[in-house]
């Protein structure tokens, strides 16, 4: 069985749960694969995969720019902008670029045609190759309001791919995460074995239910002791795809930014088993 052009989104309720570990290692376990880092505020996958031959493309949005000589201070634009990105102070229109959502409305509404749109770079998309994995990374410049335009670009790329694609989603369940899973064929939820982990798992579980996405859970950092996240899955009838043990070896590989399956036979087995399991789930 091969996954072909399926898109697998990897989610977690908060950062540091092992989302990047899972998506990077699943991609590295496949024969050919694409890894897309949608965690645009803090893309980490490339640190592990260390892609080569990087090409980057700037991503820009449109923001309004005012022509003072045409503006008569009617404030129609200020009243229109529901994000409050505009203020009119002392005969001068101020545009708060980081607050603007590029809806284009103010320029349309200005009776004097004083507003035009200018391009502003908010980040970039980088593409490179790491052995069997094509790596696509979205990077949002610090201070920018929204990574949505970058996620949109990444998802457009993903829709054209023929290889199985692993999407490392932003943590949490905000709208930016929804953009990342909209077109996914399957969602993998990564959970930590604590009560707080259950809370975080529940957040993304609610989200995949809302979107009606087929899904399963990978229990990360598993110890011998009782696992509240596992209990939660059993109670709710959520499919458990597998467990990743908590051990020092993995910790060391992780802190040295190594791809575990490329260094260690045991992890190679764990992740190929997980990949097979997911493949079966996706192809049923």
């Amino acid at each position: 069985m091969v996954l072909s052009n399926k898109k697998i989104a990897v989610l977690s309720g908060k950062g540091g749960t092992g989302k990047t570990l899972v998506s990077v290692n699943l991609a590295a376990s496949a024969k050919d694969a694409v890894y897309i880092d949608c965690d645009v505020e803090e893309p980490n996958g490339h640190l592990f995969l260390k892609p080569k031959d990087i090409e980057s493309e700037p991503i820009s949005i449109k923001i309004p720019s005012v022509d003072k000589s045409l503006c008569d201070g009617c404030r129609k634009c200020v009243d229109f902008c529901k994000f409050n990105a505009l203020a009119y102070i002392y005969n001068r229109l101020i545009v708060f670029e980081e607050v603007c959502h590029s809806c284009g409305g103010c320029a349309l509404f200005c009776p004097k045609n004083a507003l035009s749109e200018k391009e502003k770079t908010i980040g970039e998309v980088q593409k490179g190759v790491s052995e069997n994995v094509s790596v696509i990374t979205g990077i949002l410049n610090t201070g920018e309001a929204s990574g949505t335009p970058i996620i949109k670009k990444l998802m457009n790329e993903a829709s054209t791919l023929k290889e199985p694609t692993f999407i490392d989603c932003p943590p949490g369940s905000a709208c930016i995460v929804m953009d990342s899973i909209k077109d996914a064929d399957y969602c993998v939820l990564v959970a930590e074995p604590t009560l707080f982990g259950v809370h975080n798992l529940n957040m993304v579980y609610e989200l995949v239910k809302l979107f009606n996405k087929p899904h399963g859970v990978i229990l990360n950092k598993c110890l011998e002791s009782e696992n509240p996240a596992e209990k939660f899955c059993i109670e709710k009838g959520i499919k458990i795809l597998g467990k990743i043990p908590f051990d020092n070896q993995l910790g060391i590989l992780n802190s040295n930014a190594k791809v575990a399956v490329r260094e260690n036979e045991e992890y190679k087995d764990i992740f190929s088993t997980l990949l097979q399991k997911i493949t079966k789930e996706v192809l049923v």
């Binding site: 200020v78 902008c81 529901k82 994000f83 409050n84 990105a85 505009l86 203020a87 009119y88 102070i89 002392y90 001068r92 101020i94 708060f96 980081e98 607050v99 959502h101 201070g143 309001a145 929204s146 943590p171 949490g172 369940s173 905000a174 709208c175 930016i176």
Partner: protein
């Protein structure tokens, strides 16, 4: 001179609101006429940029001084463009703050916080 303070209710006995942008009301106190006027803060339910909109209201009401416990970067930028001075409140009591300001006992607000641009949870 007009002084603005974010307040929790439409009463001089209410307390100073902890948030500038999301305060329900502003008290505008005129030091010459000694009159108090309460304004609704239309930014209270904004999706974003509440500080900017609240600051615009303050500017439009020809206020000279704002007394507030906190202020975001964007709001501070609007206020600065309008030459409005921002002083830090000393406690929750509105009268104490007005008197302290008039007696020159309040200090300028130094820490302007970066704002919470990201909508949604993290």
């Amino acid at each position: 001179m007009k002084i603005a303070i974010p307040v929790d209710d439409k009463s001089i006995l209410t307390s100073v609101c902890m948030s500038f942008g999301r305060t329900p009301y502003f008290l505008i106190y005129d030091t010459e006429s000694k009159e108090s006027v309460f304004l609704d803060n239309s930014a209270v339910a904004s999706q974003g940029g509440a500080g900017i909109k609240a600051a615009q209201t303050i500017v439009d009401n020809k206020v000279s001084v704002l007394l507030t416990p906190r202020c975001g970067q964007n709001a501070a930028e609007v206020l600065k463009a309008a030459n409005i001075e921002i002083y830090k409140t000393m406690n929750d009591c509105i009268k104490d703050n007005i008197n302290a300001f008039i007696e020159g006992k309040l200090t300028m607000l130094k820490e302007i916080h970066a704002g919470f641009h990201n909508h949604g949870a993290k």
